[in-house]
Subunit: 149 residues, 2 copies
Amino acid sequence: MISLEQNTNPDPSDFPSEIEGLRMTKQRREVLAVLLAERDHPTANDVFLRSQQRMATISLATVYNCLEALVSHNLVRQVNFERESSRYCPNLADHCHFQDEESGKIHDVVFKDGVKLEDILVLPQGTDINHLEISLKGHFGQSKNHKTP
Amino acid sequence: MISLEQNTNPDPSDFPSEIEGLRMTKQRREVLAVLLAERDHPTANDVFLRSQQRMATISLATVYNCLEALVSHNLVRQVNFERESSRYCPNLADHCHFQDEESGKIHDVVFKDGVKLEDILVLPQGTDINHLEISLKGHFGQSKNHKTP
DNA sequence: ATTACGAATTAGAATAATTCTAAATTTTGA
DNA sequence: TCAAAATTTAGAATTATTCTAATTCGTAAT
């Protein structure tokens, strides 16, 4: 299987014709490539503007359609902060998001090793979680081992 | 200090004239009373409809204004699920939210005793969290000790 | 190749939650 | 009591997203 890694600046035409049961059209390839190219968290409109640079004819509606297709096939995650417009993230590893209030930039935050949600929340037994979103806001600290791309 | 507890069905006129530095106008009292009266998580429009029953002249714009005033003075919390319309919650205790996908209803979920966020996330040192939102979705289980109001 | 079919794309209109504006009203405090 | 400030109000404006209907594309069968 092709690796959908970030910061790889992939050539969209290298993607296979189908991923996770989703037919990879020209536009979907382009949108996915845009998301993989940078590890920021662009809005649909940001993605549209970037996609346009390589594919002048793509429309905003198509970008919305592609994003929704990619999200529903678990190739991309949708990220929400309060009522701000949705952002998109190709990092599929278990993580959550921190928004630095100074810059507005969003950073991926991972859980410490071995932490599971059921370990920290009081949920009635039998509860089945399909979807989880953790959004943090505040001031970002600087640390030697945290990479700011 | 007056106790702003839920399910108390308070008489809005019992609220003091100022809470947490916020002048309690007639409309703000009404909106706060609506939120305290039930432990569901109404949208702005729900709050508007309920407020109207006791105060026929209140406007939707005012409800939005009041909610924003109450939220910014930490008398009420704003709750977001993806891009759905915001909901409001008068429970100020540390907790997060679970939406049952069958009913759409939102339930408060608390952390297990002694769990702190810094304990479970890998954050660069010096990071200062001002705001945290955890939203879960899935199927609600039934448990003997979980109260469904 | 050509054709036919379903899927995807497109432009633009529609929607809906929220915010804004400006006028009217209420409250405060001198 | 009066002026200034704050709040409320109705309705217009905004904006992210979704919808609609027409067109185009891709594929696979003839």
